[in-house]
C-alpha cells in the first residue's frame, strides 16, 4: 500500500496555511490600492 | 458551496476523565447497536453502543480493533465517555471491533460480541474509469472555455 510520504504531508499543510495568510494580506493591499485610486465602488 | 450540504447532529462532547473516578460496582455489559456486519465501500463507519443497565451513569469505554477473531494484535481505541465513535481510513477487508465498559479504579466489564465492519473499496477499474472520464470532461471544459475566450478576445466571436 503506497502512502503519501511525511514530507508531502507537512509541506501540504504548511504551504496551505502560508497561502491562506498571503490571501488575507493581498486582500488588504488591494483594498488600500482601490481606496487610494478611489475605485472601491 | 453546497457540496455535501451536511448538517451536524448533536452528540456528546468527548468525556473520559482520569482512571480513578467513575461509577463503582461491576461495569455492565455493552453491546453495539449494529448487530449485523456493517458493509462500507468508503472505509468509514459510525459505531454506537448501548449499556445494558445503569445507563445514565458516567461509564467510560474501551474499544479494540483487530483483523482476527482472537483480537491478538488489537489496536486500542478510547472513546472516553462517548456513546459513539466515527472510524475512518479502515483497510480493505473485515475489521472487527469489540467494546467493554470501564468503571471506577479501572474495573472492566466483559467484552461485547465483536462487530464486523466489512470494507470493500470500489474496484480499481471503476475508479480509474470514472477518474479517466473526469479527466476528459475536465480537459474538454477547460479547452472549450479557453478557446472560446481567445475567440472572444480577438473579436472573432463578437458579442
Amino acid at each position: 500500500m503506497n502512502l503519501f510520504p511525511e514530507s508531502f504531508f507537512n509541506i501540504l499543510i504548511i504551504v496551505s496555511l502560508v497561502w491562506t495568510a498571503l490571501a488575507g494580506l493581498t486582500l488588504l493591499m488591494l483594498i488600500l490600492a482601490d481606496f487610494k485610486n478611489k475605485t472601491i465602488w | 458551496m453546497l457540496i455535501g450540504c451536511t448538517v451536524v447532529s448533536g452528540q456528546e462532547q468527548p468525556g473520559g476523565g482520569p482512571e480513578a473516578v467513575g461509577p463503582t460496582g461491576p461495569p455492565p455489559a455493552v453491546r453495539f447497536d449494529d448487530r449485523e456486519p456493517v458493509n462500507t465501500r468508503e472505509g468509514h463507519a459510525t459505531l454506537s453502543w448501548t449499556v445494558a443497565d445503569r445507563e445514565d451513569e458516567d461509564w467510560r469505554f474501551e474499544i479494540q480493533q483487530s483483523f482476527d477473531e482472537g483480537f491478538d494484535n488489537a489496536e486500542i481505541r478510547n472513546p472516553g465517555g462517548d456513546r459513539a465513535m466515527f472510524v475512518s481510513g479502515l483497510p480493505d477487508g473485515t475489521n472487527l471491533f469489540r467494546i467493554r465498559a470501564v468503571g471506577a479504579g479501572g474495573a472492566t466489564g466483559d467484552w461485547s460480541e465483536p462487530l464486523r465492519v466489512v470494507v470493500d473499496y470500489h474496484g480499481r477499474w471503476l475508479v480509474l474509469t470514472l477518474f479517466g472520464v473526469g479527466c476528459l470532461v475536465f480537459v474538454a471544459t477547460v479547452v472549450t472555455v479557453l478557446a472560446g475566450h481567445r475567440r472572444h478576445v480577438s473579436g472573432k466571436e463578437a458579442g
Binding site: 503506497n2 502512502l3 503519501f4 511525511e6 504531508f9 507537512n10 501540504l12 499543510i13 496551505s16 496555511l17 497561502w19 491562506t20 495568510a21 490571501a23 488575507g24 493581498t26 486582500l27 490600492a33 482601490d34 465602488w41 | 458551496m1 453546497l2 457540496i3 455535501g4 450540504c5 451536511t6 448538517v7 451536524v8 447532529s9 448533536g10 452528540q11 462532547q13 473520559g16 465501500r41 468508503e42 468509514h44 459510525t46 489496536e75 478510547n78 472513546p79 462517548d82 466515527f86 475512518s88 481510513g89 470500489h122 477518474f131 473526469g134 479527466c135 470532461v137 475536465f138 474538454a140 471544459t141 472549450t144 472555455v145 472560446g148 475566450h149 472572444h152 466571436e157 463578437a158 458579442g159
Partner: protein
C-alpha cells in the same frame, strides 16, 4: 432532543457574539444601503464594484459553513485526497473568470443568469433552468440556515431555533437595507475574518502537535487516509470539481457579481478569488486528520472541526470557530438572498407577470421577495428534519447537467435550444441514477459528462446559427 449536553461556550457568550456581529452587519447594511439609489444600485451595486471588493465577495460567498465544517470532515473520511478534492472547487472560480468577461460583453444590461438562458435558448430551457436554479438555491439556503442553528447549538448550547432564527433574521435585514452594496461590503470584512480565523486555528494546531507523529499514527491506524490510491476520494475528486463548476456557472449568485463589477474587473477578480479560496479546504481541513492521533474521539464526523479546534485551543478556539462560522454563513446567505430575489424579481415577476413594472414597483417587489425567501427558509428549517438534507444532495447532478448548456451558450454560436433542454433533462436523470447506483460521489461527474455529450452531439448534428446581438436586450428592443 439532540441538544448538546455540554458545550464549550456558554449561551451568554454565544448570544453576545451573535449580538455584536449581528448589529455590526445590520449597521453596515444601513450605511452602505444609502448608496443604492435605484434598482440597479440595489440589485447590482451600480455595476461599479472594484477589484478588492469583487475578489473578496466571490471568495467569501464560496466559503460557506460547509467549507469550514465539511473540509475537516472530508479530511477525516477521505484523507489527503479528500482535502485536495475539496480544494478543486476553486477551479470553478478560475474558469468563471474568462466567462465573466464575456458575459459582461454579451449582456451589457443583463441582470440575471435567467436573462441569458431565456434570450439564448428560449422559454422551455429557461423554465427548466429556473427550476434547477431555484431548487439548488433553496437547498443551499436551507442547508446553511440549518447548519448554522445546529452549529451554534453545538458550540454554545443555544437552542437550535434561536441560532437559526437570529442568523436568518440578521442576513435578511441587512440585505434588505443595503442590497448588493451591503452584501459585497460585508463580504469583504467577512473574508478577512475567515482567512485570519483559519490561519489562526491552523497555526496553533501545528504548534501544539507534531506533524510527523500525526503522519506515523495515521499510517498505523488509519492508513486509508494517507493512501495514494484511495478509491472513494479519487471518485469524488472530479465529482466535487464538477459540482462546483455547475454551481458557479449556472447560479445567479455568480452572474450577478459579474454584472456588478466594473468594466475590466470581473476576470481578475474571479481569478484572484479562486487563488484565495484554493488553500482554505486544506488549511481548515487538516485538523480533521489530527483527531485520532491526538486521542480525540469523534462521535460524529460532522463535528470534527469544532471538536479538534476547541480541544486544542480551548474556549478561545471555540470563540474563533464560532465567529468564522457566523461570517461564512452570513457571507453566503446574504448573497443567496440577494441573487435569488433578483432572479425571482427579474425572471418571474418582470418577465412573466408584470412586464411593465416601474422602478418603484421593482424595488418594492425585490424587498418583498427577500423577506419572503427568508420566511420560507425559516419555515423549512424550523422542524429540523435532518432527513430533508438527503434530498438536498440531489442538487449535485442537477447543477452538473447545467454546465454545458451554459458554456456552449456563451461560446458556441451553433449550440441550440433542444440540445440545452435535452442536456439538462438527461444529465440530471442519469446523474440521479448514478447517485443511487454507485454513490453520491459520482452523481455530478456523471451528470456533467452526459450533459457534455448531449450538447456536443446536438450542436454537431443540428447546428443552429445564433445572432449574439439578440442577447443585448436593450439594443435588440431599440
Amino acid at each position: 432532543m439532540d441538544e448538546f449536553r455540554t458545550s464549550v461556550l456558554t449561551q451568554q457568550t454565544g448570544f453576545l457574539l451573535l449580538g455584536i456581529f449581528g448589529v455590526l452587519w445590520i449597521a453596515l447594511g444601513i450605511y452602505w444601503g444609502r448608496k443604492a439609489k435605484d434598482t440597479e444600485g440595489f440589485m447590482l451595486a451600480g455595476r461599479n464594484v472594484g477589484l478588492a471588493l469583487g475578489a473578496a465577495t466571490a471568495m467569501a460567498t464560496w466559503v460557506t459553513s460547509n467549507t469550514i465544517m465539511l473540509a475537516p470532515k472530508f479530511a477525516l473520511q477521505m484523507g489527503i485526497w479528500g482535502m485536495l478534492a475539496y480544494a478543486t472547487a476553486s477551479f470553478g472560480l478560475f474558469l468563471f473568470a474568462p466567462m465573466a468577461s464575456r458575459i459582461r460583453r454579451l449582456l451589457p444590461k443583463g441582470y440575471t443568469s435567467g436573462d441569458f438562458i431565456r434570450l439564448r435558448y428560449g422559454r422551455v430551457a429557461w423554465g427548466l433552468f429556473l427550476l434547477i436554479s431555484f431548487f439548488y438555491s433553496m437547498a443551499w439556503l436551507v442547508s446553511m440556515a440549518m447548519a448554522g442553528g445546529i452549529l451554534l447549538n453545538a458550540l454554545s448550547g443555544m437552542r437550535y431555533e434561536y441560532g437559526m432564527t437570529v442568523i436568518l433574521f440578521v442576513c435578511v435585514l441587512y440585505t434588505l437595507f443595503g442590497g448588493l452594496y451591503a452584501v459585497i461590503g460585508t463580504d469583504f470584512i467577512q473574508s478577512l475574518i475567515i482567512l485570519a480565523g483559519v490561519v489562526l486555528v491552523g497555526v496553533v494546531v501545528i504548534t501544539r502537535v507534531d506533524l510527523g507523529e500525526i503522519h506515523a499514527t495515521l499510517a498505523a491506524k488509519q492508513p486509508g487516509l494517507i493512501q495514494v490510491f484511495m478509491p472513494v476520494a479519487l471518485l469524488s475528486f472530479f465529482n466535487n470539481m464538477f459540482f462546483g463548476f455547475g454551481e458557479i456557472f449556472h447560479n445567479n449568485v455568480w452572474w450577478s457579481r459579474a454584472f456588478a463589477m466594473r468594466e475590466g474587473v470581473p476576470q481578475k477578480a474571479f481569478l484572484l478569488s479562486g487563488l484565495f479560496w484554493f488553500p482554505i479546504p486544506i488549511a481548515a481541513g487538516f485538523i480533521g486528520l489530527c483527531a485520532a492521533p491526538l486521542g480525540i474521539n469523534v462521535p460524529d464526523a460532522d463535528m470534527v472541526g469544532p471538536l479538534v479546534a476547541s480541544k486544542v485551543l480551548g474556549t478561545a478556539g471555540a470563540v474563533v470557530v464560532f465567529i468564522v462560522v457566523f461570517c461564512s454563513l452570513a457571507s453566503s446567505i446574504d448573497s443567496l438572498l440577494a441573487a435569488t430575489s433578483d432572479l425571482i424579481a427579474q425572471d418571474v415577476y418582470r418577465k412573466m407577470l408584470n412586464p411593465w413594472a416601474e422602478e418603484a414597483q421593482m424595488r418594492r417587489m425585490a424587498t418583498r421577495i427577500i423577506v419572503g425567501l427568508g420566511v420560507v427558509t425559516w419555515l423549512i428549517c424550523l422542524p429540523r428534519i435532518s432527513d430533508l438534507l438527503s434530498v438536498l444532495f440531489f442538487a449535485g447532478p442537477l447543477v452538473g447537467s447545467a454546465i454545458w448548456p451554459v458554456i456552449a451558450g456563451i461560446y458556441w454560436r451553433r449550440a441550440n435550444p433542444a440540445g440545452a433542454v435535452a442536456a439538462m433533462v438527461l444529465g440530471s436523470t442519469v446523474g440521479l441514477i448514478a447517485y443511487f447506483q454507485i454513490g453520491w460521489y459520482t452523481a455530478s461527474l456523471v451528470g456533467a459528462t452526459v450533459s457534455m455529450v448531449v450538447v456536443g452531439l446536438t450542436t454537431l448534428l443540428w447546428p443552429r446559427e445564433f445572432d449574439w446581438k439578440k442577447l443585448n436586450e436593450a439594443e435588440a428592443a431599440s
